[in-house]
Subunit: 406 residues, 2 copies
């Protein structure tokens, strides 16, 4: 045995545990449990037939390229097609601004690697996507959370926090934000709020990490401009991914940034995994080129829209009146707020007894707040399962409220 292994570990990894959500997901793999805990797309919507055709074609006509090492920056055709999609939205980027990543989790990891020294401060929404916080913590970051209102991260509190930190001689390395259908709350920032956040960043010379995994999964309301588009001073690192709008099993994402920042991300990726698999990049490129991506995306949006509407209908029908939520205009999640006296971590046991699972909201608050909240996923299961799960969850919540108020 290696003696005193704990002493050999890096300081950053010592304190880290397996992701709470992924451990919950393991618990909930018992078939009798209906789980709202994951963030999985609906696998019945995967375009398996079309992908079988495109995969065969790629292997037969360009296998030597698709099975070989690729460049760190990514497949040239895929980068070109992605850049064109942004250009069509009026966003002025070129290939030199975009790198393919091993899904957007790697975009988070590489940004952290490029900027974070142990003890550095990162500003994030309160609550925020846990995987991003883990990536930052794994480089020894200190997190400073900014409360959200119904328009997302509060720009007034952001400026206050930046000033407070500056007074202590601390310059945050970047602001982490998910402007569209935020994970876990589902909140979307309107354009004016995005501009306010950018103005603060400009005033205090801060970088913004804009994470956009759900952006294209919009059911209603007008699309908001990305912060990448609204920014005038090249301070946005923008992350995109195919995981929610195509398939997660390819692990393809991308990062967009100024050439100067992108160069550092390339260097970091070379040391990390050299390159993202060429095979799935080339298949994705051909899939887009044939128009299959957009066709598939509208199928996904329609299906999730129906699921979301039905989910909200069921919540209204079954949940006790003490439970509230904000209707998201897109994405995969609905965030419930329960009475203050309910702790959803405690409630979890009762829920499992009722054969239903969720992610306790406090998981997304690095400071342990949000104890009366929970995140529910509506994209993965059928309408019937979602309805049955909501019934079970409502029963568990009612029991907990009764127990706490008797």
């Amino acid at each position: 045995m290696v003696n005193e292994l704990e002493n050999l570990l890096s300081n950053n990894i010592k304190g880290m545990k397996r992701s709470a959500i992924r451990e919950i997901l393991k618990l909930t793999q018992r078939p009798e449990i209906i789980s709202f805990a994951g963030g999985l797309p609906d696998p019945t919507l995967f375009p398996t037939e079309e992908l079988a055709e495109v995969s065969s074609e790629v292997l037969k006509t360009e296998g030597a390229l698709a099975l070989q090492y690729g460049t760190t920056e990514g497949d040239a055709l895929l980068r070109k097609l992605l850049v064109e999609r942004y250009q069509k939205q009026g966003i002025n980027i070129e290939e030199k601004n975009l790198i393919i990543t091993t899904a957007s989790q790697q975009g988070l990891d590489l940004t952290a690697k490029v900027f974070i020294n142990p003890g550095d401060t990162i500003i994030c929404g309160l609550p925020s996507y846990l995987g991003a916080l883990s990536a930052f913590l794994s480089y020894g970051a200190n997190l400073e959370g900014i409360e959200l209102d119904q328009y997302g991260m509060r720009s007034d509190l952001l400026e206050e926090k930046v000033v407070e930190l500056a007074n202590k001689g601390i310059h945050p390395k970047f602001i982490y934000t998910i402007p569209d259908f935020q994970n876990p709350t589902g909140i979307t920032m309107p354009e004016w709020r995005r501009l306010e956040i950018i103005a603060v960043a400009e005033k205090y010379n801060l970088i913004i990490l804009e994470d956009c995994p759900y952006r294209d999964v919009r059911f209603e309301g007008a699309a908001q401009k990305t912060m990448l588009e609204l920014d005038k001073s090249q301070r946005i690192i923008h992350l995109g991914t195919f995981s929610k709008v195509f398939v997660p099993g390819f692990r393809i994402g991308w990062a967009i940034a100024s050439e100067e920042i992108l160069d550092k991300i390339v260097v970091a990726k070379q040391a990390t995994d050299l390159c993202t698999p060429a095979f799935v990049q080339r298949i994705s490129a051909r899939f887009i080129e044939k128009g299959l991506f957009d066709k598939n995306l509208s199928v996904i949006i329609n299906a999730y829209k129906a699921k979301q509407q039905h989910f909200i209908k069921c919540l209204k029908e079954y949940m006790p009146s003490e439970v509230s939520w904000i209707n998201p205009e897109g994405g995969l999640f609905i965030f419930l707020t329960l009475p203050e006296f309910i702790d959803t971590t405690e409630l979890f046991q009762t829920a499992i007894e009722e054969k239903v699972a969720y992610v306790p909201g406090s998981t997304f608050y690095y400071n342990g707040e949000g104890r009366n909240t929970m995140r529910l996923n509506f994209s993965f299961m059928s309408l019937e399962k979602n309805e049955e799960g909501i019934k079970r969850l409502a029963t568990a919540i009612k029991k907990e409220i009764a127990a706490k108020t008797k």
Copy 2:
């Protein structure tokens, strides 16, 4: 523009540049240049037809699994099949000891992430695979190199170095080694040398990172036991990959370690890319299951054996007598030693004029030694191209020798 971007970068990334080899590879993409610089497999050997069939089948029969998020540990079937391959060699591991990584570069990155604090010492061979050194440097490691002899890393110098470091209060985090067909030298450690290195590690409580990308590409001589098998005290982290023995375009590797260490690698991977693409993992698993992997591997070994024999024949025929090399028993590289007064970095320009390229050996020495050496790859090109390239390289070397000795 972000002001003073340089000041916002992490200390680890500030000093890092794009990989020298990958930049050389870009230079040598001019079609008239014959390049021995890469480390690429021969794409004409990729089993494209068989993979087209297996991919289609996977998508049609288990697409919901193959296109979904996977677990961080990796595809259950692939892990089972890999573990069985090790068990057949008499290596006593179970699934809980193996995690799938995004090729072995990620195994290097995750090991670095788990163990290295800025300023920590890592021991490596002198010379060593550059990508590994970059991974360690990207976490702020200090490197201590141990000279190789014809049996690989010298165990006497290793012990001396460990004692010297201990006297300064320094405990190295791990020893990095490539026991089979080392990159760049092609040297293989005999069993007795492996045992000596393990004995030093045991005596001083050190972890060994055993990197085995080429192990199964053996043309002659008996396979040596892995350090994983020889070790009796669970201090080996063993890395494997499909890149050289199947296809690099899938980016599939794996790390094997004690349960205790593997648990930390899983935590690190969760923060890094969540999981390796499920799609290519499942295709690989089915490819192995059908017996296609072993069939393909023997095709690769035979082809590379023929290339290597022909390459050495040509070296003997064309190179001036001042140039020497060790015949590797496997792998993808031959390492040339030139007269002491030749600097292969200076020679590079002459070589490019002769339309041939290589990697200067000093690239693999973190301390700038090895200036009279170079690494040549023999796996990628045809016999004809290899021969023509060797002729050109011999011309360049003769010119340089003549210029330096006139």
